[in-house]
C-alpha cells in the first residue's frame, strides 16, 4: 500500500509544484498520472523515488515514510539512462552488485530474455537502438523485484510500434511479481491500456483534478469499443482539467458546504 498524505512541494524559488496531494494506491495496482505539462507529475514521482524531499506531507510505503531511495522501489526514467561504460548485462545487473556473479548473471540473463534482448549481454549501450536501450532500463529496474515501480513517461520518446511492443513486455513482467506501479504519462491511450486507475492532475500548483477507475479487464484490446469509450472518458476529463480552473473535489466540497 502506497499512500500520499497531504503532499506538497515548493521549490526554493517559491514555485509551488505540488499542493495537497492525497492518493492511496493498493498493492499491485497500476496507477497512471496524466495531465498537461507543468502539473507536477514528474515532481511527484521524484518524491516517491526519494530523489527529492516533500515540503509538507508524507509518502508512506507499507507504513514507512519514504525520505530517500529505497531498495524495494524501482525507477524507470524518461530516458534509458544506461551507463555507457557498462555492457548491457552489467547495466541490467547494476542493482544486483551484492549478489555473487553466477547468481547475478542468471537473473540478468533471464530479465534480458524477457524484454526480448537475449544474446545482447556483451553489447555496449551505444550499439542499441533507443527502444532496445529503454528495454534494458526496464530490465534493470525489474530484475531487483521491486515492491513499487515508478515510471516517468518511459515510452514517450519512442515510436508507436516500439511503444506498443514495450507495453506488452512491461505487462508480462508486471504479471510475474505484481509490483505496485505508479506511472506518469501524457498519452491517454497508454494510461487506458496499462492502468487500473487514472489520476488527472492540474497545474499551478500541481494538484489532483479527478480520478477515473478503468473498468476494462486485461488483456485490453486497443480496438475494442469499450477501450474506445474509456479512452474518450479519460480524454474528456483531461480536457475539462485544462479548461476548469477549480479541481472537481473542491467544487464538491463547496457545494456541500452551501447546501449545509
Amino acid at each position: 500500500m502506497l499512500t500520499f498524505d497531504q503532499l506538497s512541494k515548493t521549490y526554493a524559488d517559491g514555485t509551488r509544484a505540488l499542493s495537497g496531494i492525497d492518493i492511496s494506491v493498493a498493492a499491485g495496482e497500476i496507477l497512471a498520472l496524466v495531465g498537461g505539462s507543468g502539473c507536477g507529475k514528474t515532481t511527484l514521482l521524484r518524491l516517491v523515488a526519494g530523489l527529492d524531499r516533500p515540503s509538507e506531507g508524507r509518502i508512506l510505503l507499507d507504513e514507512a515514510a519514504i525520505t530517500e531511495p529505497r531498495a524495494d522501489v524501482g525507477v524507470i526514467f524518461q530516458e534509458p539512462r544506461l551507463l555507457p561504460w557498462l555492457s548491457v548485462a552489467d547495466n541490467a545487473g547494476f542493482g544486483l552488485s551484492h549478489l555473487p556473479a553466477a547468481e547475478r548473471s542468471r537473473l540478468v540473463t533471464g530479465a534480458l530474455a524477457r524484454v526480448g534482448l537475449a544474446g545482447y549481454e556483451a553489447r555496449w549501450p551505444r550499439e542499441l537502438s533507443g527502444g532496445q536501450q529503454q528495454r534494458v532500463a526496464i530490465a534493470r529496474a525489474l530484475v531487483t523485484r521491486p515492491k513499487l515501480l515508478l515510471m516517468d513517461e518511459p515510452f514517450s520518446a519512442l515510436d508507436a510500434t516500439t511503444r506498443a511492443s514495450l507495453h506488452g513486455h512491461l505487462l508480462a513482467l508486471w504479471e510475474e511479481s505484481r509490483p505496485t506501479v505508479v506511472m506518469v504519462t501524457h498519452d491517454v491511450e497508454e494510461a487506458v491500456k496499462l492502468a487500473d486507475r487514472i489520476v488527472v492532475m492540474q497545474p499551478r500548483p500541481g494538484r489532483i483534478f479527478d480520478e477515473l477507475d478503468n473498468p476494462l479487464t486485461r488483456p485490453r484490446d486497443r480496438l475494442s469499443p469499450a477501450f474506445e469509450a474509456t479512452k474518450r472518458e479519460a480524454l474528456r476529463t483531461l480536457d475539462r482539467s485544462l479548461t476548469d480552473s477549480e479541481p472537481r473535489q473542491h467544487k464538491a466540497a463547496e457545494s456541500a458546504g452551501m447546501w449545509w
Binding site: L83, W85, L86, G110, T161
Partner: protein, 277 residues
Amino acid sequence: MSTIEIAEAVDEKPVAPQARPASRAGLRLAGFLLPVILAVLWEILVRAGLANGRLMPPPSVVGKTLWQLAVSGELWTHAAATLWRVAAGFGIGAAVGTALGALTGALPLARGLLDPTLQALRAIPSIAWVPLFILWFGIFEASKVALIAVGVFFPVYLGVAAAILSIDRKIVEVGRVFRLGKLAMVRRVLLPAILPDWFTALRGGLGLGFMFVVAAEIMGASEGLGYLLVDGQQLGRPDTIIAAIIAFAVLGKFADGLLLALTRPFLAWQDTARDRL
C-alpha cells in the same frame, strides 16, 4: 516465466558507418605526400645548385647528421635526458593537477578557496617562472622538472575539474536510485564518467610537457635534445638543429601514441568518432 515475441521493427540495430580499410590506409598515406614532395623538391634544387643549402640543409644532409648522432650514441643520451625530464615533470604535474582538480571539482568550498588563485597563476606565462625556479631549485634537473610540471599541471587541473562539474546529473541519479554509498558512487559512476575527459586532459598536458622541456633545455642544459638545438645554433650547424627538431617530433608523437594506447582499452565503450581520428 513468460516468453514474449519481439516485433521485428523494434529490433533493428543502428549500423556504424565504417570506411573500407583500404581507403582508410590510403587516406593515411596521403598525408605523407606533401612533406615528401617538398623534401624531394628541396633536395633536387640544392643538388642542381639552384638553391643554397647552407641555412636550410637538404634532407640528405639532415639524414646523415641524424645517422651520425645515432651511431655515436649522442642522440640516445640526449633523447633519454629529455624523456626523463618530461616523464618526471609530467608525473608530478599530472598527479598534482588530478588531485587538485578532483578536490575543486568535488567540493564547492575547495573551489571557492583554491580556484581563483590557480586561475590567476594560470594567467602567468609559465616561462616567466624560469628565473625564480633557477633561484629556488638550482640550475640542474630540479628547476627543469618543476617548469615542466607547472606546464602539465594546468591543462590537467582544468580538465579534471571541468569533467567533474559536467558529470550528467541524470546518470548520478541512477546511482542514487540504486542507493550507492559515497565510495561506490565514486568508483562505479563518477570515476568512469570523467575517464575520457581525464585522458584527454593528460594528453594535452603531455603535449605541453614537450613544449616546456624545450624551453627548459634551451635555458641551459648540458644534455638533452634542447641542448642539441642550442649547440647547433652556436656551432652554426642547422642540420643538427633540424635533426634535433625531428627527434623531438618523433619522441612527442611516440609518447602521445603510448598514452593513447594505454588509455584506449578503458574507452572501448565510447560512442565517438575517435578511432577514425
